[in-house]
């Protein structure tokens, strides 16, 4: 259903669609094509450090920065998911500087984290809270002592944050900014298919300045038949990041379909239709402003994550904003929330 994206967003989804579309059609059209599995000999390469860091502001809560450090790994052969979890890098020195003050971060593993912080960590990692304990995830965040005292580093719209990571003798740095918040004018559900399925719509106004980036997340907080909340965390659909190149200064409507958790290819619930919301769903929209460099990373990352290596795309290195030879992203998000209430 990537076709739906064409309506909403020209800056990122169009190329995703053209590439995917051509790729899919091409493969379908050539009825005579065949494929087979092959083995590829990969060269040995040194593992690289991957930094995934976020600092958020929503104008209401104090949200601390969070950073995870992992490593690249070999490509083939079955790996257990827990093995991937063990790619985490421990004992690095991580700090964030803002307004000329440097705040060191501490490595906290799930076992040690204050239960009050768990929801935030779950959101950041994109892992449902109840699954957190399955893997001993560790995040670098503000020291426990600061959290307990109530005074800790948290994101503020308009500020610039510098990240420094020292691991195994190498120093990595990055800089990001949390742009001013931009709250949506309105949100609503609109039906697309049959009576029960549709998309989440919103109306926004882009300020007249050039170089504004945005990212959309949505979470269904209504419950399924088993009584569980449908989405444990906020999900970003493909094409969730866009810029104001074509919409600069205008007020307009746009829609997004329903994203899926990473790695999940099939819909577990038979009552749901992949990519669609239901009329009865209550959906919380998290609409964030992002820095233009963060946007540039995310758009290539989303294309890469969505294209199965069709011949029409060229393998590109994702433009990381990490200096020093690392991969990944240090991102500032200016988040605002709105809710679409489900109809009976």
């Amino acid at each position: 259903m990537e076709l739906q994206f064409l309506i909403k967003d020209m800056s990122t989804t169009k190329p995703i669609n053209i590439i995917n579309f051509l790729g899919a059609l091409f493969m379908a059209a050539i009825v005579l094509s065949c494929e087979k599995e092959i083995t590829v000999e990969l060269p040995d390469s040194d593992p690289k450090l991957v930094i995934e860091g976020r600092i958020e502001a929503d104008g209401v809560n104090d949200i601390p920065p969070m950073v995870t450090l992992t490593k690249t790994t070999g490509y083939f052969g079955a790996t257990s998911i827990s093995e991937l979890a063990n790619l985490q890098v421990h004992n690095a020195q991580v700090s964030v500087a803002v307004d000329n003050i440097t705040y060191p971060l501490e490595e906290l593993c799930i076992a040690d984290i204050d239960p009050g912080m768990l929801p935030l960590v779950a959101e950041f990692l994109g892992v449902p809270e109840k699954e957190l304990s399955a893997y001993n995830f560790c995040v670098y965040t503000v020291p426990v002592a600061d959290i307990l005292s109530g005074s800790y580093l948290s994101g503020e719209a308009g500020k610039t944050y510098d990240l420094t990571v020292v691991s195994e003798g190498t120093t990595y740095t990055s800089r990001t900014k949390i742009p001013p918040l931009n709250k949506l004018n309105s949100v609503w559900y609109e039906e697309a298919q049959a009576d029960t399925f549709g998309y989440a719509w919103a109306n926004m106004t882009d300020p007249d300045t050039v170089g504004n980036g945005y990212r959309w997340f949505a979470k269904r907080i209504s419950h399924n038949a088993a009584g569980e909340q449908k989405d444990a965390t906020f999900l970003a659909p493909a094409g969730s990041a866009f810029e104001d190149k074509f919409i600069n200064g205008i007020t307009f409507d746009f829609a997004y379909d329903r994203g899926h958790p990473p790695g999940k290819h099939e819909e577990a619930d038979p009552l749901e239709l992949p990519h669609f919301f239901k009329k009865s769903d209550t959906i919380v929209i998290k609409f964030c402003t992002i820095d233009i460099n963060v946007y540039r990373f995310l758009r290539i990352y989303e294309i890469d994550a969505n294209s199965a290596g069709s011949p029409f795309s060229s393998p590109t290195t994702i433009p990381t904003n990490i200096e020093g030879g690392g991969l990944g992203l240090w991102a500032g998000y200016g988040a605002t929330y709105d809710t679409i209430f489900g109809a009976k």
């Binding site: 005579l32 494929e35 790996t79 994109g126 990352y301 994550a305 011949p311 393998p315």
Partner: protein, 816 residues
């Protein structure tokens, strides 16, 4: 027209005239046109020489020749591939106009006959790296899906590589597909492929001759680095009407030609269309995909008229289109993707004197590609194209038999639309920026002389002066170092934005070692002012043509080549070894991280990065020219690398079409009556049915063809490791083009069966099988990761997609 260039041209012109005139005493000129006696078609490249002197020339593109020698009695010999030699006594006491009609050497023109060619042509000619392809030979080779293809055939020659499975694009000696100058009756054809490259745009029925120059490019050609593919359309039978056609599995074609005024004027119209869409339509109509289909068609037309003995006019045109449409009714989604070329040329041949021939051409060439999507109320259209208006004047001057001089001027006005888009949803029109076209004047003046320095040493030397002016109207978006647009510079119409010019020396030499062998050497320097920017590893209509500008410099190429040519066994075999080395500067690639949407509200050439490249190799060629079994073996060993500061960390990397080994074996076997009899006699002994089969076999005319190709696999950039980001598995890519796919090899066979011929009507059936041992040649490789939630494992596998397994096809050809 630039003043500098025209001044240069005038000086050259005067110098030549004077030098020619100074030597004119005591000599007379024999000149004229060589034609085909059946159709009246001019024969380009025919050999015309004086037997006693063993000196002569070849007819030019329009069949004209001119020989100036001291008065006397001589025998004039004319010979041409596929025709009976002609030898006539001439008494040269004044200038003679000698027009000769040649008769085909065989009963029909369909058969492959290699007698009649001046048998040591390849030893004699100074031009190395030039190959003339005979259309009848092309038609006897196995065809892809039954379609005879000019471009597929040239890819079977050493030094010329195909871009990949089913792709018509070609690479010559390590140069990209945009480095080949493809001309159809002097008009540039920008996109030579139908169906993403599976078929070329040239309909073999309408073509008279094909000439490929891959080294030693003479000065009359320019604007591209690697090669010239000069295709001449047939003029049209001047004596009688002729209809040729064929019906095949994928497409059908029809050609009609004939005289408008006998021996003075004629026409030819040729058309071709596929019908994959019509065949699939009944099945698709009922599904949700009603309205989906693909078709291509092309149409070539030409009229010629002899105004007088010294003036001829030609008007030719080509129009071809591919249209791909896709519809998904449920979603209200429709896509339409048309692309194609249109060319037309008006040419006037004029004989200024017996020694000077001039051709003036006015040419129009257009290529465009469009991608349109509608979804309910949303509409998006992307468009890119290039349009040329070209004026050329080319002189052939034959001052004496030892000199063959060419000089001329050329001016092209280019209008590029690298990308333009428009989008709207209902009433809201999205701001996609204004359409920024790029306009330029490309001009050149050249002079070239082929002359004998000594009896053994012949030199072809030329100089080309070229110039490129990028002019307004144009808007340049300026950017800061982060890549955000900071402003616009607007140029008015005609305002000069950037100029480039260069002198391009061209030199090639032939030194005759003995009557059977020669040594050749060549050096050329070329400027190329327009580039094709390609995003993917496969050439697509989305590839965009851009001209040099303030941001993009012209491509510069230098090529050195050396060759040894030898004929064996009494000229029955032709062999050669050529080695070359090329350097290319100012190559462009899209910068890392570019996506097509970046072109909107921005200049296309703001996204390029430039670098250099080189290539070198050795080409071996052995051709059997006579007998019932003919064909050739071509083998190239070569390497081509690129180096860009902004790509691959500045380290050199193999070009995407770097191919270490490339082997082609081509064979055509014309079954002789006596051999057919052997087969039928052996079948007689079995039983009655076999006996009848044998008789039927013996009474028909069979031709068998086969090709075998082997090439090192294409290089690709594959990931080398992976990591997690936001819970997704991401790829880390290795150095550019570090991986090699498995080698490509394939064999094709074809059988042509001639039907009973009457005086008016001929037909034949062609059966061909593509990829006879069904090798799964790699088209591309992709990775797929499957996750087992319950087992808690994930696994990544690599898959190779191949396109064509064994593909048989049948075509029925007719002619009357």
């Amino acid at each position: 027209m630039n003043i500098q260039v025209s001044r240069f041209a005038t000086i050259l012109f005067l110098a030549i005239l004077w030098s020619g005139w100074a030597h004119a005493q005591d000599k007379y000129t024999i000149s004229g046109f060589i034609k085909d006696t059946e159709s009246g078609e001019n024969l380009p490249g025919a050999n015309v020489y004086i037997e006693e002197l063993l000196e002569g020339t070849t007819t030019n593109q329009y069949g004209f020749f001119s020989i100036t020698i001291t008065e006397g009695q001589y025998h004039l010999v004319v010979s041409y591939l596929g025709y009976k030699d002609s030898k006539e006594e001439i008494d040269l006491t004044r200038n003679i106009r000698y027009n000769k009609s040649m008769s085909a050497a065989a009963i029909t023109t369909q058969e492959v006959v290699i007698e009649g060619e001046k048998s040591d042509q390849n030893i004699e000619s100074t031009q190395m790296g030039k190959i003339d392809l005979e259309i009848t030979q092309i038609k006897s080779l196995p065809a892809f899906m039954g379609e005879v293809d000019v471009l597929k055939t040239i890819q079977l020659l050493p030094g010329v590589q195909s871009a990949g499975e089913g792709n018509s694009g070609f690479y010559v000696r390590g140069g990209g597909p945009d480095q080949n100058l493809v001309l159809l009756d002097e008009a540039v054809v920008y996109n030579v492929a139908h169906l993403f490259g599976f078929f070329s745009v040239f309909n073999a029925d309408a073509i008279k001759s094909v000439e490929l120059t891959k080294g030693g490019m003479p000065a009359n050609y320019g604007g591209r680095l690697a090669s010239v593919l000069d295709i001449t359309m047939k003029d049209g039978n001047r004596k009688k009407f002729e209809v040729d056609g064929g019906i095949g599995l994928i497409s059908s074609r029809l050609t009609i030609q004939g005289p408008l005024k006998k021996n003075t004027s004629s026409f030819i119209i040729s058309g071709r269309r596929t019908y994959i869409d019509l065949l699939l339509n009944p099945f698709i109509k009922k599904t949700a995909f009603a309205g989906t289909g693909y078709f291509f068609y092309d149409l070539t037309a030409k009229i010629n008229y002899d105004i007088s003995d010294s003036d001829k006019l030609y008007l030719s045109g080509y129009f071809g289109r591919d249209v791909f449409s896709f519809a998904q009714g449920d979603n209200g989604f429709e896509a339409k993707i048309p692309w194609g070329n249109a060319t037309s040329s008006l040419r006037w041949n004029h004989l200024i004197s017996e020694k000077m021939f001039v051709n003036t051409s006015l040419i129009f060439s257009d290529y465009d590609f469009s991608f349109g999507i509608t979804q309910s109320e949303f509409e998006l259209v992307l468009f890119s194209g290039v349009r040329d208006f070209n004026t050329k004047v080319d002189f052939n001057y034959y001052p004496s038999v030892r000199h063959n001089v060419k000089f001329g001027i050329n001016h092209i006005y280019h209008a590029f639309t690298p990308s333009s888009s428009s989008a709207k949803q209902g009433d809201i029109v999205f701001n996609t920026g204004e359409i920024i076209n790029q306009y330029a004047h490309e001009s050149a003046a050249y002079i070239n002389d082929e002359f004998s320095l000594t009896e053994k040493l012949k030199v072809n030397a030329g100089l080309r002066l070229s110039m490129f002016n990028h002019v307004g109207p144009f808007t340049r978006y300026t950017k800061d170092n982060v890549g955000s647009i900071t402003g616009e510079i607007k140029y008015a119409g005609g305002e000069l934005i950037k100029t480039y010019h260069g002198l391009e020396p061209r030199l090639s030499m032939r030194y005759v070692l003995d009557s059977k062998s020669s040594l050749k050497a060549a050096y050329t320097h070329n400027n190329q002012y327009i580039h094709l920017a390609s995003l993917s590893s496969i050439s697509l209509p989305t590839d965009v043509w851009v001209g040099a500008s303030d941001k993009v410099k012209p491509l510069i190429g230098d090529q050195y080549a050396l060759g040894y040519f030898r004929n064996l066994m009494d000229n029955r075999y032709e062999g050669s070894v050529e080695i070359y080395y090329k350097e290319m500067q100012n190559l462009i690639e899209y910068e890392d991280g570019f996506i097509p949407a970046d072109n909107i509200q921005d200049n296309a050439d703001n996204h390029f990065t430039s670098g250099n490249g080189n290539s070198y190799g050795a080409e071996f060629f052995l051709k059997k020219r006579t007998g019932s079994l003919t064909g050739w073996v071509g083998y190239t060993i070569a390497k081509t690398t690129r180096q860009f500061e902004d790509i691959n960390g500045g380290e050199p990397f193999p070009a995407k079409y770097d191919r270490t080994h490339d082997l082609s074996v081509v064979a055509s076997y014309d079954l002789q009556k006596k051999d057919a009899r052997i087969v039928s006699d052996s079948l007689k002994g079995w039983n009655k049915i076999a006996g009848n089969l044998g008789n039927w076999f013996r009474t028909r005319h069979w031709t068998f063809g086969g090709t075998f190709v082997y090439a090192t696999g294409n290089s690709l950039t594959l990931p080398v490791s992976r990591y997690m980001f936001e819970g997704n598995i991401m790829n880390e890519y290795g150095p550019r083009n570090w991986y090699r796919m498995i080698p490509y090899h394939r064999a094709d066979v074809s059988v042509t069966l001639k039907g009973r011929e009457t005086k008016r009507y001929q037909s034949s059936w062609n059966f061909s099988v593509y990829n006879i041992y069904s090798r799964a040649n790699p088209y591309f490789i992709y990775f797929d990761t499957t996750i087992d939630e319950q087992g808690g494992t994930l696994e990544t596998k690599a898959f190779q997609v191949s396109l064509f397994p064994i593909l048989p096809s049948i075509t029925w050809n007719f002619s009357f």
